[in-house]
C-alpha cells in the first residue's frame, strides 16, 4: 500500500518523539510538538494547518530548556501544555504557558506555570483529563502515580495524592478515562492497571505483557486499546479483562503508539518502529454474540481491518495525534523530526 505522497510535511530541527493535538484551539487545527536532543537547545513548535489544509505553518517557536520526552496540550486552554523533560541524568515535568504576545516578541520565552517536582525516578508522562476542564493532573513516573491539583491563576501545582505502583511494577505510561474522571489506566511491563483516583487504589488489571501504549475510546465507554511489542494491538473491554475483544496484527516491529479516533467509531491509528503508520477499522461495538459469530466465521471471510498503511517515513514513528477539530486529520511524528499531517478522508467513504 502506498501512502505518503498525500501527506503534508513539516521538519523539526532535531529528533523528536512527541506530538499533541491542541484541543482547546477551536479556530484552527493545530498541533504542538517538542524536540528531543540531548546536547542541543530544544524547541517547542506550535504548528497550524493552513485554512486551505495544504500547508503547515509554524505559529510559534519556543525554546525549551531540556529534551522533551512527553508533551501534552491542555484540553481547555490552548496556551497551556505540559512537558516531561530530561537533562540526561535526571527527569523533570512542568506546566508551561505560551506568552500572550509571542507574535510580537523576538525570542519569546515560555512561562513556567508549575513544576511537578515531586518525582524521583524517570517520569513517563503527564496526563490531562481529555474530556474537558478539570483542575487535576496526573503524572506517572517509573514507580509512582501522582495526582496534582493545578491552579493556573495562582501558578501552583500541589500533590494531592500519590500511590506507588508496587514492587516490580515499572510503570511506562497511562491513559485517563474520558468517560470517568476518577479512572486511570497505567501500563507496566506485565499488565495494565486501573486506578480509582478517589481512593488511589487499584481496581482492576489486565495481565498482558509488553504494553507500550494505551488509549481509551473517546466515544465508547469501557473500551481500551493497547499497543504491544510483538503481538500488535489489542482492544479490550475493561469490564472483561480476561481476554481482548479483538486483536489486530499491528506492525512488523514494535507497535509504539495507538490512538482511537475521537469521532469515527472503530477507527484506530497505530505507529510503529517499522517506520509505518497503520490505519485500522475495528468496530468495537460488537457485543458478545457478534464476537462468537466472528470467531465461527473463517478468518478469510472477515474483511481486512487494515485500511491503509502510511509508509513514507524514514525512521520509527513515535508521535501520533488525531485532530479533535477535524477528526479526519492526524499528525504523525517520526524520530527524525518530521511531522506529517495526513487526511484519512479517502478511507472514510470506503466504510
Amino acid at each position: 500500500m502506498q501512502g505518503g505522497s498525500s501527506g503534508i510535511g513539516y521538519g523539526l530541527k532535531y529528533q523528536a518523539r512527541c506530538i499533541s493535538d491542541v484541543k482547546a484551539d477551536t479556530d484552527h487545527t493545530s498541533f504542538i510538538t517538542g524536540t528531543l536532543s540531548l546536547r542541543e537547545e530544544n524547541e517547542v513548535h506550535l504548528i497550524r494547518l493552513s485554512s486551505g489544509g495544504t500547508e503547515l505553518i509554524c505559529e510559534g517557536l519556543f525554546s525549551h530548556p531540556n529534551e522533551i520526552w512527553d508533551l501534552a496540550s491542555c484540553p481547555f486552554d490552548q496556551r497551556i501544555f505540559s512537558t516531561v523533560f530530561s537533562t540526561g541524568e535526571s527527569y523533570g515535568a512542568a506546566i508551561w504557558q505560551i506568552p500572550e504576545l509571542y507574535g510580537q516578541l523576538n525570542s519569546p520565552q515560555l512561562e513556567r506555570i508549575a513544576s511537578l517536582d515531586a518525582h524521583v525516578g524517570k517520569i513517563n508522562c503527564v496526563l490531562w483529563w481529555p474530556s474537558g476542564r478539570h483542575d487535576k493532573l496526573i503524572s506517572i513516573d517509573d514507580e509512582n502515580l501522582f495526582l496534582w491539583a493545578l491552579d493556573c491563576s495562582k501558578k501552583a501545582a500541589q500533590v494531592q495524592s500519590k500511590q506507588s505502583s508496587g514492587m516490580l511494577h515499572y510503570l511506562s505510561g497511562g491513559a485517563w478515562d474520558p468517560h470517568d474522571i476518577n479512572a486511570v489506566a497505567t501500563t507496566c511491563e506485565s499488565s495494565v492497571q486501573f486506578w480509582d483516583l478517589r481512593t488511589m487504589k487499584k481496581t482492576n488489571a489486565i495481565e498482558h505483557a509488553h504494553i507500550h501504549n494505551a488509549n481509551y475510546d473517546m466515544k465508547k465507554n469501557h473500551i481500551l486499546v493497547t499497543a504491544e511489542d510483538e503481538s500488535g494491538i489489542h482492544i479490550w473491554d475493561t469490564r472483561k479483562p480476561k481476554s481482548p475483544i479483538q486483536e489486530l496484527p499491528g506492525h512488523t516491529h514494535w507497535t509504539w503508539a495507538v490512538t482511537c479516533n475521537p469521532e469515527y467509531d472503530g477507527l484506530i491509528l497505530s505507529a510503529g518502529t517499522d517506520s509505518t503508520v497503520n490505519l485500522w477499522m475495528a468496530p468495537t461495538s460488537v457485543e458478545d454474540e457478534a464476537i462468537t459469530e466472528s470467531i465461527a466465521e473463517s478468518p478469510a471471510q472477515q474483511a481486512d481491518p487494515l485500511l491503509n498503511s502510511y509508509s513514507d517515513y524514514e525512521d520509527s514513528v513515535y508521535g501520533l495525534a488525531w485532530s479533535s477539530r477535524e477528526p479526519w486529520i492526524f499528525a504523525s511524528l517520526s524520530y527524525d523530526g518530521r511531522v506529517v499531517v495526513e487526511s484519512i478522508k479517502p478511507f472514510l467513504s470506503r466504510k
Binding site: Q15, L38, S86, D229, D336
Partner: protein
C-alpha cells in the same frame, strides 16, 4: 315536355317533386290538416303553395315584385305543368279505387253461394263417431278379468323361481367351491345377499345358514389361495378381489401379508448383518473386498430377489398399497446405509466401502424394477450422499488422529533417547504420516471415483467436492491441532516448552510445505484425470497457515531476545557506566539464541538458493576485508567529527543512501528466517538504545558490543546489507543518546573483540 326535361337534367328536383306529390296526396286523404308535414325550408315559395296558410295574393305580389318577365313566364309554365300533373295523378287514383271495390263485391257474392248445405254433413259425422266409441268400451270390459289373472300367474312364477334359487344356493356354492369357480360362487352369494338380509331370520333361515357355511369355506379357500406362494399371482390377486367383494376385512389381510414381507426383510437384514460380520472378521482389506463381492452373489442376492418378487406379488394383490411398500423399501435402504455407516465408524477400507455400496445399489436397482414409484434410486442417492459424506469425514478424522499420534509419539521420544536431531525425526515422521495418509486417501477416493457404479457415477461430482472440502477441513484441523500443541508447550514457559513449541511449529511448517509441494503436483494430476480437484485453494490455505506459523515462530524467538535486551537495558545505570572492559554477556546470550534458532531452522527448512549465490559474492576474503575497512573508515570518521554535525550528517547520509528495506517478506529458507530474526532483534536493540541516555563509557560499551556482534554475525550467518545498516544504526542511536560521544579507538576496540573471540573459541573447544 318540361317535366321530361326536368327529369332528364336533374334527379334531385324529381325526388323533391315526388316527395311533394306524396305529401300533397296524403294531405288530401288526411283530414287533420294541422299535422301535415312541413315542406323543406329551402323551397320557401313553393312551400307556401303547399301549406294551408298559403296566401295566393301575397304570393303573387311577391312573385311579381321579385321576378322579371322572363322569370314570371317560366314560373307560369312550371305552375301549369304541375297543375296538370296533379290532375292526372288524382284521376288515376280514383280509377284504381273503383276497380278494387268491384272485385271485392264479386268475392263476397261467391262465398255466399258455397256455404249453404255444409251443416247437414257435419251432423252425420258426429253420429258415426259416437257409435264407434261405445263399441270399444264393450270389448275392453269383457277382456279385463282374463288379463288380470294372467298377470298374477306370472308374478307367482317369478317368485317361485327366486325361492328355488335360494334353496339351491348352498348346493350350488358347494359345487362352485368344488370346481374352484370361486368367482361364480361369490357372484351368486352376493346376488342372494339382499334376500337373506330381508328374510334371513324367518323363512330362509336354514338356507342362509347353509350358504353362509359355504361362504366361510369359500373365504377360507380364498385366503389359503391368497397366502400360498405356489399359486400364480393372477389367481392370488383374484382371490384378494373376491375377498374384498365378500366384505371380508382385507386390510387385516394386507397387514398380515405386509408383516410377512417385513419378516422376510428382517431375514434379509440378518443375512446382510452376517455378511458384514464376516467382513469385519477378515482383517486383510484385499480379502475383505473379495469377500464382499463373492458373498452377495450367493445368499444375499437370492434373498433380495425373493423380496423383490414378494413385493411385486404384493403390489399386484393390493394395488392401492404403494405407500406402505415404498415405506418398506425405503426402510430397507435406510437400514442398509445405517449398517454401512456403522461400519464406516469402525474404519473400513475404500474397497470394502465400495463393495457395500455396490450391494446396496444392486438391491436398489432390483427393487426399482418392481416398485418404480418409490423412486428408490433417488432415495438411495440421498442416503448414499450422507453416507459417503460421513465416510469421507471419518477417513479424514482417522488420518488426523494418525498424524497427531505419530507426532506425539515423536514428541515424547526425544526426551527419552537424546537423539541428535529430534526435530528432524519428528518432522520426518509426521511428514511421512501426513503424506502417506493423504496419498492413501487420495488413492482410495480415486478408486471411489473410478468405479462405474450407478450410484457413485451420479455422486461423482459431489464426492470430488466432499473430498476437497474434507481435505480443507482436515488441514484446518491439523493446523488447529498443531497450534494447540505448540501453545500447550509454550505455556509450560520453560526452555523445554519453548523448544518443544518451536518443534511443533517447525514440524508443521515443514510438513505443510511438503504437503503444499506434493499437493500442487497431485492437483495437476487430478486435473489431468479430468476429475475436478482444485488444489489451488488448499495450497493457498497451507501457504497462509505456514506463513502465520512462521511468523509465530519468529515472534517467539524475537520475544525471547527482546526480554534479554530489555533486561540488559533497564538494569544498569547507563549514565554512570564504567569503562568497557569486555564484551557484555548479553551478546553471548544473544548469539546463543541465534545458534539455537539456526540449529532448529537447519533441520527443517531448506537452504535458500540465494545463499550460494551470495557466498560467492561476499564471502571472498578480499571482499569481506574491504567491507571491514569501509566500516572502520566510517567509524573513524564519526570519531573525529564533532557531535554537533552528526545528526545532519546522518540525515544527509540517509538521503543519499537508498532506503534500506529492513522488513522484507520472510521466505521459507534457513537464511531468510535467520536474517529476519536477526534484523528484528537488532531493530529492538536500536529502539532500546534510543530510550536510554549514555555517558561516554556506556556508549563505548555499546560500540564494543555491536562490533563484536558484527564479527560474530559475519561468521555465522549471511549478513545482508540491511543487517549491516542496522548495526550501524545502533551505534548512531547510541552516539545520539550519548552525553559525550567519544568512541573507543579502533585498536582498543579490535583488541577487546579479539580477546572475546579467543575466549569464546576456547569455551567452545
Amino acid at each position: 315536355m318540361v317535366e321530361r326535361e326536368n327529369t332528364r337534367t336533374d334527379d334531385v328536383p324529381l325526388d323533391d317533386k315526388a316527395k311533394r306529390m306524396r305529401d300533397l296526396l296524403s294531405s288530401f286523404y288526411n283530414p287533420d290538416h294541422s299535422s301535415a308535414p312541413k315542406a323543406p325550408s329551402n323551397y320557401e315559395n313553393l312551400d307556401a303553395i303547399d301549406s294551408t296558410s298559403f296566401d295566393p295574393d301575397h304570393y303573387m305580389n311577391l312573385l311579381v315584385q321579385q321576378s322579371n318577365l322572363e322569370g314570371l313566364l317560366r314560373r307560369h309554365v312550371e305552375m301549369a305543368a304541375e297543375i296538370k300533373n296533379l290532375d292526372t295523378d288524382l284521376q288515376m287514383l280514383v280509377y284504381e279505387n273503383y276497380n278494387k271495390f268491384i272485385s271485392a263485391t264479386d268475392a263476397i257474392k261467391w262465398m255466399k253461394s258455397n256455404i249453404v248445405g255444409m251443416e247437414a254433413n257435419m251432423e252425420q259425422l258426429l253420429d258415426k263417431i259416437m257409435s264407434v266409441q261405445s263399441r270399444s268400451d264393450g270389448v275392453n270390459t269383457s277382456l279385463f278379468e282374463k288379463r288380470e289373472h294372467i298377470e298374477k300367474l306370472h308374478r307367482t312364477r317369478n317368485l317361485l323361481r327366486k325361492v328355488q334359487f335360494i334353496y339351491d344356493l348352498p348346493a350350488r356354492l358347494a359345487k362352485c367351491i368344488k370346481s374352484e369357480a370361486y368367482a361364480d360362487a361369490v357372484k351368486f352369494y352376493i346376488g342372494a345377499m339382499p334376500i337373506f338380509k330381508a328374510y334371513g331370520d324367518s323363512s330362509f333361515q336354514d338356507c342362509k345358514r347353509a350358504s353362509e357355511e359355504a361362504v366361510i369355506i369359500l373365504v377360507k379357500n380364498l385366503q389359503g389361495k391368497l397366502f400360498s406362494d405356489s399359486e400364480s399371482i393372477q389367481a392370488r390377486a383374484e382371490a384378494a378381489v373376491l375377498l374384498k367383494q365378500l366384505d371380508f376385512p382385507v386390510d387385516s389381510l394386507q397387514a398380515r401379508l405386509l408383516e410377512k414381507l417385513e419378516q422376510s426383510l428382517g431375514d434379509l437384514q440378518l443375512k446382510t448383518v452376517g455378511i458384514e460380520n464376516i467382513l469385519r472378521e477378515s482383517n486383510d482389506p484385499s480379502k475383505q473386498g473379495k469377500a464382499f463381492e463373492s458373498i452377495p452373489n450367493t445368499g444375499h442376492e437370492v434373498s433380495v430377489h425373493g423380496f423383490a418378487e414378494a413385493i411385486r406379488a404384493y403390489r399386484v394383490i393390493f394395488p392401492d398399497s404403494e405407500s406402505q411398500l415404498i415405506k418398506l423399501a425405503q426402510n430397507l435402504v435406510i437400514k442398509h446405509f445405517e449398517m454401512i455407516e456403522q461400519c464406516v465408524k469402525r474404519r473400513i477400507s475404500s474397497a470394502n466401502f465400495l463393495g457395500a455400496l455396490r450391494t446396496i445399489w444392486t438391491d436398489v436397482l432390483l427393487m426399482d424394477e418392481v416398485l418404480s414409484e418409490a423412486a428408490l434410486p433417488d432415495f438411495s442417492l440421498e442416503a448414499g450422499q450422507v453416507t459417503v459424506k460421513k465416510y469421507v469425514a471419518s477417513t479424514f478424522t482417522y488420518l488426523l488422529q494418525d498424524i497427531s499420534d505419530a507426532l506425539l509419539k515423536v514428541n515424547v521420544s526425544p526426551k527419552e533417547a537424546a537423539e541428535e536431531h529430534p526435530l528432524q525425526v519428528a518432522l520426518e515422521a509426521s511428514k511421512k504420516t501426513v503424506l502417506q495418509g493423504s496419498m492413501d486417501l487420495l488413492l482410495d477416493f480415486r478408486q471411489l471415483l473410478d468405479d462405474n457404479l450407478g450410484l457413485l457415477v451420479k455422486l461423482r461430482e459431489f464426492i470430488a467436492d466432499w473430498v476437497q472440502e474434507g481435505f480443507q477441513d482436515f488441514f484446518r484441523a491439523l493446523d488447529d491441532r498443531f497450534l494447540i500443541l505448540s501453545g500447550r508447550k509454550n505455556s509450560t514457559s520453560q526452555d523445554q516448552g519453548f523448544s518443544d513449541g518451536a518443534l511443533g511449529e517447525k514440524v508443521l511448517v515443514g510438513t505443510v510445505l511438503e504437503i503444499t509441494a506434493s499437493f500442487s503436483g497431485g492437483g495437476v494430476q487430478g486435473d489431468e484425470n479430468g476429475h475436478a480437484f482444485v488444489s489451488g485453494e488448499i495450497c493457498q490455505i497451507f501457504r497462509s497457515v505456514s506463513e502465520t506459523l512462521l511468523h509465530h515462530y519468529i515472534n517467539m524467538r524475537t520475544q525471547r531476545v527482546s526480554t534479554l535486551l530489555r533486561k540488559r537495558f533497564t538494569t544498569p545505570n547507563w549514565v554512570k557506566h564504567k569503562e568497557p572492559r569486555e564484551v557484555h554477556m548479553f551478546v553471548d546470550l544473544f548469539v546463543q539464541e541465534l545458534r539455537a534458532v539456526q540449529s532448529e531452522v537447519k533441520q527443517i527448512l531448506p537452504e535458500g538458493l540465494i545463499r550460494k549465490h551470495h557466498r560467492s559474492d561476499s564471502n571472498g576474503s578480499g571482499n569481506s576485508s574491504r567491507s571491514n575497512a569501509l566500516l572502520d573508515d566510517k567509524m573513524s570518521r564519526s570519531n573525529t567529527q564533532k557531535a554537533r554535525s552528526q545528526l545532519l550528517e546522518t540525515h544527509l547520509a540517509k538521503l543519499f543512501k537508498q532506503k534500506v528495506e529492513i522488513f522484507t517478506k520472510v521466505e521459507y529458507t534457513q537464511e531468510s528466517v535467520e536474517t529476519t530474526i536477526v534484523k528484528l532483534c537488532l531493530k529492538s536493540l536500536q529502539e532500546f538504545v534510543r530510550l536510554k541516555t549514555f555517558n561516554r563509557s556506556g556508549f563505548q560499551q555499546i560500540q564494543l558490543d555491536v562490533q563484536f556482534l558484527r564479527t560474530i554475525l559475519k561468521e555465522n550467518i549471511e549478513v545482508e546489507e540491511a543487517i549491516d545498516f542496522l548495526l550501524d544504526e545502533v551505534i548512531v542511536a547510541a552516539s545520539e543518546r550519548c552525553l559525550d560521544p567519544v568512541p573507543l579507538e579502533n585498536p582498543i576496540l579490535e583488541k577487546l573483540v579479539q580477546v572475546k573471540l579467543a575466549k569464546s573459541k576456547e569455551r567452545s573447544k
